[in-house]
């Protein structure tokens, strides 16, 4: 096995990790703010892929347009979900909202399955992104490079947004104590809707970006949802850096597992998760507050 091959696989692991980063960032922000573990996150990811499919293959639109529109559409759907359904249950124990999102997950998956049939659909990589690019030390597929680039930019953008802008400061404050923010005269319910929309939009973006790498099908969100949970458990809930590191670890573990020990490829991340739980139950960068 030559070095170049290993390098390519490492990069593939990073590209896969990118999807986990996009998803777990949304999951973490939503959880931090609303106290809801969004089980519908995987379904929103799938919805992003189907939005892209509809825009490109059915409406014969442009791929770039789909990459921009799909997250907006999914984000809007997320905002509607939050403001019509989740909102009703904030005063009750958190697990009711979690169960509600579980129900929404089933509902969305089955609805898509009824509309588009349970069969997988092919989604073509746009022509200009086919083929590989020479990075000097290896050849790497253009499309995966794009994914890496987009994720890196977004992660920096989100960090900048949360740390440097006023709205970001409000969101961070709301994560610590949303009642206090509300008492200080900021309409927290609008922020809740916005945050849920943002998280949903990130999931939608991950979905539309993932579509060309695989066939899309109505239940594609379930697997990635549990893997995203593993990312968040490893990285620690409520930490942006934890999401990024956890995403990379899980992406690499899956990619490397497939090469070195295929039968265990799917199980490796759970074993790693169990080890983290044993040694550091709140995850690598988890905040004590969320763990309590």
């Amino acid at each position: 096995m030559d070095i170049q091959f290993i390098f390519i696989q490492l990069f593939n692991g990073l590209a896969l990790g990118s999807f986990y980063i996009l998803l777990s960032l949304g999951l973490t922000i939503i959880f931090g703010m609303l106290g809801v573990v969004n089980f519908a996150h995987g379904a929103l990811y799938m919805l992003g892929a189907y939005c892209g499919y509809t825009l490109v293959q059915v409406c014969s639109g442009n791929f770039w347009m789909a990459v921009i529109l799909s997250p907006l559409i999914v984000g809007f759907i997320g905002m509607v979900m939050e403001s019509t359904l989740l909102r009703k249950l904030y005063d009750l124990p958190h697990f009711y909202n979690l169960l509600l999102t579980f129900g929404l997950m089933i509902f969305i998956e089955e609805l898509i399955q009824i509309i588009y049939s349970p069969m997988g659909k092919p989604f073509n990589t746009p022509k200009e992104l086919l083929g590989s690019i020479d990075l000097g030390f290896m050849l790497f597929p253009k499309y995966r490079l794009l994914i890496l680039g987009v994720t890196t930019l977004l992660a920096i953008g989100i960090w900048f947004f949360l740390v440097k802008t006023k709205l970001g400061a409000i969101i961070r404050a709301g994560t610590d104590d949303s009642e206090m923010v509300d008492a200080l005269g900021i309409d927290i319910s609008k922020i809740f809707t916005l945050v849920f929309g943002m998280g949903a939009g990130l999931a939608g973006l991950a979905g539309v970006l993932a579509a060309p790498l695989q066939n899309i099908f109505p239940y594609m969100g379930m697997g990635i949802l549990t893997e995203t949970f593993v990312v968040v458990i490893i990285g620690g809930m409520g930490s942006i850096f934890g999401s990024i590191l956890g995403g990379i670890i899980v992406g690499e573990l899956i990619t490397m597992g497939v090469i070195f020990w295929p039968p265990l490829a799917n199980t490796l991340i759970y074993i790693f998760m169990a080890a983290v739980l044993l040694l550091r139950p709140r995850g690598l960068f988890g905040r004590v507050k969320f763990f309590e």
Binding site: F31, H94, F102, M105, I106, F107, L111, T267, L278, F291
Partner: protein, 315 residues
């Protein structure tokens, strides 16, 4: 006096006396005999789950593991070893309890929302293991050819006889569950649910109690799983699917958590409905999703309580 005592005993428990003939005749009331067995199997699963979720306040999305492990292990023991029926069931329970001990040890230290995610992740792991280890489990096709050994002279090839075996075990489980929740131990579990910090400060080792509650619910799940393998003569891979965990959660919510009887009723209702609706639509899961959403939004105290409230106490 004696006769009066019996009368008041009957009057206070008239529901129970109505239910006895209902349960005995259940297989003759359902569209086919085996549906009655399935209803009670899931009732056993749900009542054990209620001890964890309803009484201890821990929401697990991993209980498909114990149901599935019980089903697969019992099935394998009965197929490969040609063992007696109860050996198969006990073997399934034993393996499930071992798994529950490990998962419980790793997850009860973790609070609230994290617990849900960890149990769900383990559920997916066991699903993958069963899927990939197809030499043992049959993979995607499931484990076929689970026999139903006779118990002494009683052959279980008839669905009716299997139902009465399930009914007998169901009654034993119910008595056990009632004994548990009404014992001082059960009270301690409920104190964890209402205020864990306070329970800890008066000297309870709360993690210990949570682990035992986890094991108890795994025990019921494994028994139900083993019976499910007998009932189908086959173990589908779906027993380990996260949706199976979701099923038992929704059964509990629809029936009303923390009541034991509620989840039993919820399980029987849901299994019956599923059977009824599957006959005229393929979109059972779609209905399930809507059911999930509406019951979380409107039936949180259980369908019986909510309906009663809305009919008799109009607000």
């Amino acid at each position: 006096m004696e006769a009066l005592g019996i009368l008041s005993f009957i009057r206070n428990r008239w529901v129970v006396f109505l239910l006895i003939p209902l349960f005995i005749s259940l297989p003759f009331l359902t569209p086919h005999h085996s549906l009655a067995s399935e209803m009670l199997i899931f009732a056993i699963f749900a009542m054990g789950y209620d001890i964890l979720f309803g009484y201890t306040g821990l929401l697990s999305f991993g209980h498909a593991i114990f149901f599935g492990a019980g089903a697969y292990t019992s099935g394998l023991i009965l197929i490969k070893l040609q063992a007696p029926l109860f050996v198969g069931l006990l073997g399934g329970i034993f393996v499930s309890l071992m798994i529950a001990l490990i998962i419980g040890f790793l997850s009860v230290r973790i609070k609230g929302i994290y617990f849900v995610m960890v149990t769900l992740a383990f559920c997916q792991m066991f699903y993958f293991i069963a899927l990939k280890w197809s030499g043992l489990t049959g993979g995607d096709n499931g484990l076929h050819g689970v026999p139903r050994p006779s118990i002494g002279p009683i052959h279980l090839d008839s669905e009716i006889r299997l139902y009465y075996l399930v009914l007998m075990l169901f009654v034993l489980c119910l008595l056990l569950a009632l004994r548990i929740v009404r014992s001082p131990f059960g009270r301690a579990l409920q104190s964890l649910k209402s205020n864990e910090d306070r329970a800890k400060s008066i000297g309870f080792n709360t993690n210990h109690f949570k682990l035992i509650s986890f094991l108890i619910s795994a025990f019921f799940g494994a028994l139900a799983g083993g019976l499910y393998a007998l009932h189908l003569n086959f173990v589908p891979l779906e027993t380990l699917n996260i949706m199976t965990s979701g099923d038992v959660v929704i059964m509990s919510i629809i029936g009303g958590i923390g009541t034991l009887y509620g989840p039993i009723f919820g399980a029987m209702l849901l299994v019956y409905l599923k059977n009824l609706l599957s006959a005229w639509t393929e979109q059972w899961n779609f209905i399930m999703g809507i059911l999930f959403i509406t019951s979380v939004l409107t039936l949180r105290r259980g369908i019986l309580v909510e309906v009663k409230q809305r009919l008799f106490h109009k607000r």
